[in-house]
Structures are given as C-alpha cells and as structure tokens.
C-alpha cells in the first residue's frame, strides 16, 4: 500500500494533537472497548441490603471514573451477578469469567462463599478482587500464596479494635462479660479474640454467658433472658445482620442494657436500622472502613456520602468503601502498568502492579499487601445519640490502620495476638 505524503502528514498531525491533549494520550488510545468488570454481590436474603450498598457504591464509582476517562482511557462496564450459595456463586463466577469474558471479577461478602470461589478463580486464572470476602479457614489463611485472588482485610480486625477500645474506655469496669455472637466461625473467632485481648491486657474477667443465635434468628427473647439472668457488666456482640437491630430492640425492652456496657464491632452494617429509641449511648460502635460522618473526611468521601444520602435517604456503610476500594485498586494497578509498558497491560502485569499502588478509597487510604490481602483504615468509637439522625453516631472517633489490627503474612492469628505490639 502506498502512503501519500499528505496522508502521512495528516497522521503525524493527528498524533501530535492527541499527544498534546491531556488525558487523551494514553496507551489505550486505540482501545475504545469497555473494561468489563463482573460484580458478584448478594441482592437478597440476610445480606441483601449489605450487597445493595456495595452495588450502589460501585455504580457511583464507575460513573465517576468514566467521567474522568474510565480506566486507562477505556470506559468501565459493570456486569452484575448475584452472590448466593457457594455452588450457585461458583457458577455465576464461571459465567462471568467464561461467558461474559469480564476483565476482572469483584465482590463477594461471605467468607464461606469466598472460600469456594477463590480456588476456582485461581484455577481459571481469572482476576478476583473481593469486597469483604476472605480465604480464611477459621482464622487461618487458606490461600497464603494466591496469584489471582485479592482478599479483604482479615475478618477479626473489627473484633480486635473493639476489644482494644473496650479496654481503653472501660478498663476497671469490666468484670463479668457475656457474649452474644452469630453461630458461625466469624462470631466464634471474634468472641475468642475479645477474651484473648482482655487476658493480654491483664483484665481479669468472668465469662457469665455465651449465646450463639443462628444468623437470621428474629426472636431473640430467650437469648436476651439468658443474658439478663447472668447479670453481666459488659456484653460483646459481633452480630451484624438484621438480627442485630432485633437484639437491641428486644434487649432494650427487657432492660438488659441498664448498667451494662456494650461493644458492637460490626454494628455499622446495620446503622440505618439501629434507632436511637432502643440504642443506649457509649457503645463501642464499629464502622469498619467507612464512617459516613467522619469529621475530617476526604472530599471524595464527602461527595459520595452527600450523593448517597441524598439519593437513598440513608447512610452508607463500609460495604460501599470495600466496593469502591476494589475498583479503585484495579484502576490504579492497570493505569500504573499501562504507564510502565506503554500499552494495555497483560493480566500478569496488572496483578504485579496492584499491590504496589496506594489507593484513596472512600474511607481513607488503603493498599493491598504483597500477599494480596488488603490493608485499610478502620473506624470505631463511643456512640452518641446527640445528632440530627435517628440512629447513633460517634462522639469519639478512633481510627487504626489494618497493619495494626491484622496478623502479618504467614503468622498464626492467636500467636500474633499474644506477641504483637497492640496499638492501645
């Protein structure tokens, strides 16, 4: 084919214009094809509202990023599938990877489901960035050397911080402890972590009651009665589904919380349902990685919270942050790798790049470790009902980074609890 001088000059001119225009010249200049991101999130059942918050956030994030050029010049397209049982979610994952041919799958909240999906992602060599899912078998990391699977912070982070704050605020007042925790590994490990940390801090306590309601139990009166009969002075509960508001309501009606202090490390998930009318004050209240009313919040968080609360008339919780973080980490990894290679990066290059990027997420800065486990910023504090909402906020905000709250790579969690330098 002969190229005329005029055609050649026109081409050089076009290239020069493209190079001069900021934000236009990018390795993906020739690729208008969307980056397809598969989203696996629960849309119904006990985790339905939680998943919905994450879905809303990832939609907001994609919209915002697309206005700013998408990912390395390519627009983001989201493909949704539902997280349900491990079997069905694995099938949904395969659909996203094999049929929809997405570039990356993000989502997953349940660790039980994540444990099933993660090995499939490794075997399919498909990139998976989890929102809240881990690959912890109990507290033990089941996939310490995953290549394609990026996991959330450890499940026990919120229990560690709540335990530390319980000691900080109530040391000397904790003598008789009681636990009401969901009857699965998360609840059992959190309760054990609380007791271990008290022991480590030299707080001598008597365990007066342990209650293990099944997730989704909506009549907790017998559990409340058992706790009341045990006369605790401190109750620790890592309940986090729709049963938490039920417990608080029934406990309040029964007078369970009179003269009793509480720690609710995962209460933020149910923030909109925890109404002031049945919520005592001064609870160690966990917001995990997003406290919507953070006084010194970043402009990014403020913009998101304002938009979210205006649109949905409720406060966002940490699942929004997890969803945003996953997408932002992927974008940062792709763009850094694209910049380094001068083209759209290969999957391996993206995987190598992601852990090197520090990302500004909704709740604060975060980064994936080299072992592909997230490190983010956590918020908890003492609750107050003195605000303009119909649910509690925090009167004191304590923030910690995940490196202070989770075991380092390869270490046993219980051993780490015994030997680490805890921040409080």
């Amino acid at each position: 084919m002969n190229i005329s001088r005029r055609t050649l000059m026109r081409g050089i001119g076009a290239a020069g214009l493209a190079a001069a225009a900021p934000g236009v010249f990018s390795p993906a200049i020739a690729q208008s094809k969307p980056v397809r991101i598969g989203i696996l999130a629960p849309r119904s059942g006990a985790m339905g509202t939680v998943g919905e918050c994450g879905v809303r956030a990832v939609q907001w994030a994609a919209e915002r990023m697309n206005k700013d050029g998408g990912i390395a010049g390519r627009p983001i397209e989201l493909v949704f599938e539902e997280e349900t049982s491990p079997k069905d979610t694995i099938e949904r994952f395969r659909r996203l990877a094999l049929q929809e041919k997405v570039d990356c799958v993000q989502g997953l909240i349940s660790t039980g489901v994540s444990l099933g999906v993660a090995p499939v992602a490794e075997e399919e060599q498909a990139l998976l960035i989890m929102w809240d899912g881990t690959t912890q078998d109990g507290v033990k990391e089941a996939m310490p050397k995953s290549r394609y699977v990026f996991r959330s912070t450890d499940n026990e982070c919120e229990a560690v911080i709540a335990s530390l704050l319980a000691i900080k605020y109530f040391k000397g007042k904790i003598k008789r402890i009681a636990g009401i925790n969901p009857d699965y590994s998360y609840g059992r490990n959190n309760w054990e972590a609380f007791q271990q940390i008290l022991k480590r801090a030299g707080v001598e306590v008597e365990v007066v009651a342990e209650q293990w309601p099944k997730v989704g139990t909506m009549d907790l009166t017998s559990h409340v009665a058992a706790l009341k009969a045990a006369k605790p002075d401190f109750i620790f509960s890592s309940m986090l589904f729709a049963d938490l508001p039920v417990f608080m309501k029934q406990g309040s009606a029964a007078g369970l919380f009179e003269g009793v202090n509480l720690a609710l490390p995962a209460a933020g998930w149910q923030i909109n349902q925890l109404k002031k009318e049945f919520m005592p004050e001064n609870i160690v209240f966990g917001h995990n990685t997003l406290y919507f009313a953070l006084p010194n919040a970043s402009p990014l968080q403020k913009a998101f919270v304002e938009d979210y609360m205006g649109r949905y008339k409720e406060a966002p919780h940490w699942e929004a942050d997890r969803a945003y973080f996953a997408l932002a980490a992927y974008k940062a990894g792709v763009e850094a790798a694209a910049k380094a290679t001068g083209r759209w990066p290969k999957l391996n290059e993206i995987i190598e790049s992601i852990p090197k990027q520090k990302v500004e997420s909704l709740g604060g800065p975060g980064q994936f470790r080299a072992d592909k486990i997230a490190e983010q910023t956590f918020y908890q504090g003492l609750s107050t009902n003195q605000n303009s909402y119909d649910f509690p906020t925090l009167k004191t905000v304590d923030s910690f980074t995940a490196d202070q709250l989770q075991k380092p790579p390869g270490m046993d969690f219980w051993e780490w609890l015994k030997t680490s330098k805890l921040p409080v």
């Binding site: 849309r43 119904s44 949704f80 599938e81 539902e82 049982s85 491990p86 079997k87 069905d88 694995i90 099938e91 949904r92 395969r94 659909r95 094999l98 049929q99 660790t111 039980g112 444990l115 099933g116 090995p119 499939v120 075997e123 399919e124 060599q125 078998d137 109990g138 089941a142 009857d183 699965y184 590994s185 059992r188």
Partner: protein, 338 residues
C-alpha cells in the same frame, strides 16, 4: 410392549408411569446422546453447567423412585447430596485419597449406613408425615454439619480436591478437567445408573413399589411387604443421591452445609415436578430445564427467585405432568394424527 397413550388425564393422577414406560428409556437415551455430542457445539461455560446437571440427574433418578414410583415425597433428600459431597471432601482433603472410584464407594456405603436407620423410621409413615420426617432428618444433618466445626469446617465447609479418574491424573486447569474427562465420566455414570434404574423400575421390585403407590393396603393383601419395599426404595434413592452429591462436590470444589439445606431439597422437588415425576426421564428433563432456566433468569434479573416461583406455580396449575407430560401429549396427538 405397547400401552395406550390416550388414557384420559383425569383418571390418571400426575404420577402414572405406565403411560410413559415405552418411551421412558428412549427419552433418557436421547438426552444422553445429546449430552455426549454437546462438547462439539456448546461453549465451555455451558458444559460447566451440564456437569452439575448430571449430578442432579442421578440424584433425581433416585428421588423419583420414591416420588414417582413409590408415592413418597421426601422433603429432605438433599441430605444424601450432602453425604456424597462430604464423603468426597473427607476422602480428597482429609484422607488424601484421590481415587474417585473409592470416593464413590465410600459415599455409597455412607448413604446406606445413614439411609437404613433413617428410612426405617420414615417409611412407617406416608404423605405429609413422611415429608416432615425426612425434612427433620435433613435439617438435623444440616445442623450437624454446621455445628461440628472441627470435623466439618462448619459454615465454611470442606475443600474437595480434584480426584483421579480410574487412577489417572489429568493435566490442565479445573475447567478443562470438568468440561473434558470429568464431563464424560459423569455422563457415563448417569448412563449406567439410568439404565440400572430402568431395570429396577421394571423389575418385580419396581412393580411392587408401583402397587404400593396405587394402594398400599391392597398390595399388602397380595403379599407385598410394604415397609420393606419402601425402605429398599428409600435406601436406593439415598445411594443415587450420594453419587449425585459426589459429582456436584467435585464440580464445585467444596462441600458446605448449604448443599443439604431444605431449599436444596425443595429444588429437587421443583426439578421433579418441572420435568414430570410420572415419567421415567421426566425428572432428568426437569433437572436440565431447571439448570438452564435458573442460569438464564439469574443473569436476567435480580428477582429470579420470583420468576422461578411463578414458573413452579404455573406448572403445578396448568401442566401437572410437567415437561414430559407436555411432550407425551404432543407425541400422542401426532401418533393419533398419523
């Protein structure tokens, strides 16, 4: 043997295997042949959906021995899927035994050991009482799996490692394994077990079951040992369920308590009704339709459960003999027309 296909539907209830007997095996073989040729034309993803279908189809053949032929509706049959799944997990993850043949044997043995006492208690009752008892045992098993963390992994379940097929290790990723050698292995199992079930339902034992279903008292007068026959049917159906559970677990790579939850038992009932429990191949057709329908609806809308529920309602009201019944009627009309 040829039986009239124009028997009025009002006389025969939803369960009337006699009508479909001549075509039952042929329909089943048509499905098997279609599945054998599917890898030549279908996408990899479609093939990954078919392997769980094979697992369900095996379990449904057993389930239908109870429902379609004996007239007993089990609401806790997913327990046997779980027995198979956890047997696979125990063998491959805990004991390091990766032979699938050995795993299948262990699953069958475990199913028999559990089905005999459970069945002994359940088959003394019929109708809703049998359904409730099987549901209770299913949920009891679910609670055991859920609560015994040290043994079963609790809510997080147990990993199922990739097994050896006839002692052979296969290279490549999991998808290549599932859609390649394991696909044909599972299909082969389905064929063998389908043929075995065909022989069972046409044997004197199968006729006894049909007689029990039609009128247990009359059957007893004729010398049929009703309880023993029902127990044998329950044990056989349990064995089929456990084998189906092994196939499912290998495909998923995980055995978790969800697989035995009552909703999974409900899915088995749904599949049987969808396909038509009165026909030999009906539940197999129902299993295939269920897997494809759920996949399509789940991707199309987040309200997929509503759609699936609506489909079930429509089938029960308008097509009580399921998809197989529809095809049977159409085939009968064609035959009359010619």
């Amino acid at each position: 043997m040829s039986t009239p296909t124009s028997a009025p539907a009002t006389v025969a209830p939803a369960v009337s295997p006699n009508i479909w007997r001549p075509s039952g095996l042929i329909s089943f073989l048509v499905i098997i042949v279609a599945m054998a040729g599917l890898p030549l034309v279908a996408s990899t993803y479609t093939l990954t959906l078919m392997v769980p279908f094979f697992g369900f189809a095996i379990a449904l053949l057993g389930f239908n021995l109870l429902l379609g032929y004996t007239g007993l509706l089990s609401f806790g049959h997913a327990m046997f899927l779980g027995i198979g799944a956890y047997a696979a997990a125990l063998m491959t993850s805990k004991l390091g035994v990766r032979s699938l043949e050995l795993t299948l044997l262990v699953a069958v043995a475990a199913a028999v050991v559990i089905a005999v006492p459970v069945g002994f208690l359940c088959v003394r009752y019929t109708r809703i009482f049998f359904g409730m008892l099987t549901l209770a045992f299913g949920m009891l098993f679910h609670s055991i799996l859920f609560k015994f963390y040290g043994l079963t992994g609790g809510d997080q379940g147990m990993r199922v490692m990739r097994p050896l097929l006839f002692g052979m290790e296969f290279e490549g990723g999991k998808t290549a394994f599932i859609t390649g050698p394991f696909y044909y292995y599972a299909l082969g199992l389905l064929t063998l077990l389908g043929y075995a079930m065909w022989r069972i339902v046409r044997s004197p034992f199968g006729l006894h079951l049909t007689a029990i279903r039609e009128n247990a008292q009359k059957a007893a007068y004729l010398g049929v040992t009703v309880s023993r026959m029902r127990l044998a049917a329950y044990v056989i159906s349990g064995v089929y369920g456990a084998i189906g559970g092994v196939i499912l677990a290998v495909t998923i790579g995980l055995a978790d308590p969800e697989i035995v939850y009552w909703t999974q038992s409900g899915n088995l009932v749904f599949m049987a009704v969808l396909g038509g429990s009165g026909a030999f191949a009906g539940p197999v057709v129902g299993g295939l339709a269920f897997v494809l329908l759920q996949d399509t609806v789940m991707s199309a809308t987040q309200y997929w459960r509503f759609v699936m529920g609506a489909v079930l309602v429509l089938i029960v009201i308008f097509f009580p003999r399921g998809i197989a019944g529809l095809f049977g009627d159409a085939f009968a009309r064609l035959k009359r027309g010619s």
